[in-house]
């Protein structure tokens, strides 16, 4: 025998109503889970997992090598510095840069969700804030997570920095470098994604923006003897140079970014982050929302 529900009636809601901060938190969480492929087709989950694997696999291999090598000198020779590690996660960073912000911003506009979001307690600014935090958090998974894993594992093996003071200093540098790489890249991806509803176009624009800016800056520096400050227009190289400077390491570059002071490099990264962030905000303030 089967039961049938004919009318459930209406129940009014008298429970808690959380404020606008809760709305921002909900949107942030939804953004991170969406990029992670939750309740999405299998290829979305796979792409996310593979990108994470690309970023974390080198760290896991280096931790294994450190466990096998007892000689400190040999270990120092084989293991990369924290600044150098970003060379191993370049592909993962570019992949996330190309997919995360377009997946969130372009999809919200194309699917009509932006209209629903802006009819909720979210404002245009709080919407952008929640989405920017989600993009930065996912980017930080590959810019911050692997070096942090390396630091923790090496410290536990006794192959990490000496003493609590050094460990804390390296920890602060790892966090700073992770944020320093994630922030300008995330801001660039938000700015590009704010210009089109098409995910593919935004992804292509982001990759082109990174590669073309790097190519043009390097051609100007090497062939046209442009001043070193032009290196700040290398949007691909700048975040990695920031990581090297934060870790107090020496740049491999002789001209451009490598010849600039640490303050100029970090200042440049902050300036690009602010410029791209303000551009994305400006676009969304003027965006006509479909209702």
């Amino acid at each position: 025998m089967t039961a049938r529900i004919h009318d459930r009636g209406h129940r009014s809601y008298d429970g808690a109503r959380l404020g606008a901060r809760h709305s921002v938190w909900v949107l942030f969480q939804q953004g991170v889970w969406r990029v992670a492929g939750r309740r999405r087709p299998i290829w979305s989950k796979l792409l996310f997992a593979l990108t994470l694997a690309l970023a974390y696999l080198p760290a896991i291999v280096f931790v294994g090598l450190a466990a096998l090598l007892n000689d400190d000198d040999l270990r120092d020779l084989v293991l990369p510095t924290y600044g150098e590690y970003y060379g191993f996660v370049t592909a993962a960073i570019v992949l996330f840069a190309a997919i995360v912000a377009p997946e969130l911003l372009c999809t919200d506009r194309k699917s009509g969700m932006l209209g629903l979001y802006l009819a909720s307690p979210l404002s245009r600014d709080s919407y952008m804030f929640a989405r920017a935090m989600a993009v930065a958090a996912v980017m930080a998974l590959v810019t911050l997570g692997p070096p942090l894993l390396l630091l923790i594992a090496l410290t536990l093996q006794g192959a990490g920095p000496d003493g609590l003071g050094d460990t804390l200093l390296v920890f602060v540098r790892v966090v700073g470098a992770g944020i320093g790489v994630a922030a300008p890249v995330a801001a660039l991806t938000l700015a590009v994604s704010a210009t089109t509803d098409r995910r593919a176009a935004a992804s292509a624009g982001i990759i082109l923006g990174l590669l073309v800016s790097s190519a043009v800056a390097n051609i100007l520096l090497e062939s046209a003897d442009a001043p070193d400050i032009v290196g700040l227009f290398d949007l691909f190289g700048l975040p990695f140079e920031v990581a090297i400077r934060i870790h107090g390491e020496t740049s491999d570059l002789d001209v451009g970014l490598g010849a600039l002071s640490t303050a100029a490099v970090i200042g440049g990264a902050i300036a690009w982050t602010v410029i791209f962030g303000l551009f994305a905000r400006w676009r969304y303030q003027r965006l006509e929302v479909r209702r």
Partner: protein, 301 residues
């Protein structure tokens, strides 16, 4: 003193985009129950909804929504409003229950309560069995219901429905209108229904506001707007004789086939006397009620 029962109260609102004045000293009072917002495309309906939601600033005038000024309290107002947009696009890979729960959470409900109420709302709109289906596999009618479900799930005080029957066939349209009527009467939510379809507003709305070129041209209870204008519809066995006699008494008589529409003072007394004098057989005498279409046409649409 403003009407305390008014959900939306606006006085002399002006909204300009550049040199274009979209709302021109618009004054409106949306009371309890279901109110229809009628107007042609470009009349200013969407801009008005945007102002109600606190999404745009106004250039002049005052406005209160649920007792608050949307210019400064947009998030607080939006937390208490349910909104169903006109467009049909929804994330194709999201399940109906997932979307409705997400919107309820955005409106401040904790996760568990949002999940329960999302399921309840989808049952209320007749999609209980379909709630785990991806939205991309749903028909336009089902998506319209999902839009209504996400608007009511957080138990808002006030609902804004923008063209909720757009894209529906006549049967689906009637079902949707019954559903909206039920929401507006049984769920304790006041409704502002933006539409360009006179029939549906006439069918379910308690009141109507007609806007044209950014101004309110008619506003009031639907039954008041349709009220008799002191004209009578009369049918007798010899309409020619009746028409001539009434015209001779100075009354305005219009004829459509065998039915006479008579206007003027003391129409009923004149008709009675003429019928008696000429020995006519009176078949029908009724108040001439205007349709909402008449009101709309008179408003210069």
């Amino acid at each position: 003193m403003t009407d305390e029962a008014a959900v939306v109260e606006a006085e002399g609102v002006v909204k300009r985009y550049g040199t274009t004045t979209v709302l021109d000293r618009l004054s409106i009072s949306v009371g309890r129950g279901i109110t229809g917002l009628l107007g042609a495309n470009g009349a200013g309906k969407t801009t008005l909804l945007g102002l109600v939601l606190g999404l745009h600033g106004r250039d002049e005038g005052s406005m209160r929504v649920l007792g608050l000024d949307p210019a400064g309290a947009g998030p607080e107002i939006r937390a208490r409003i349910g909104y169903s947009p006109e467009h049909h696009e929804l994330p194709p890979d999201a399940q109906a229950a997932e979307l409705v729960r997400h919107v309820a959470e955005l409106h401040g409900l904790p996760r568990r309560a949002a999940t329960e109420r999302a399921n309840d709302a989808l049952w209320q709109v007749g999609l209980g069995e379909e709630r785990f289906r991806p939205l991309g596999t749903m028909s336009t009618g089902q998506r319209q219901r999902v839009k209504l479900a996400q608007a009511i799930a957080h138990d808002p005080r006030f609902l804004l429905l923008d063209e909720p029957t757009d894209g529906l066939d006549p049967v689906q349209r009637d079902e949707m209108l019954r559903l909206i009527r039920r929401v507006g009467t049984e769920f304790g939510m006041d409704v502002l229904l933006s539409s360009h379809r006179l029939g549906e507003v006439e069918q379910i709305c308690d009141a109507v506001t007609i806007i044209s070129d950014g101004k309110v041209v008619q506003s009031g209870r639907v039954d008041h707007l349709r009220e008799t204008d002191a004209a009578l519809l009369v049918e007798v066995d010899d309409p020619d004789a009746l028409q001539a006699a009434l015209a001779a008494r100075g009354l305005v008589v219009e004829r459509a086939r065998d039915t006479l529409r008579v206007e003027g003072g003391d129409v009923a007394v004149h008709v009675r006397d003429v019928v008696a004098e000429h020995g006519l057989a009176l078949r029908r005498m009724a108040e001439a009620r205007r349709s909402l279409e008449d009101v709309f046409m008179e408003a210069g649409q």
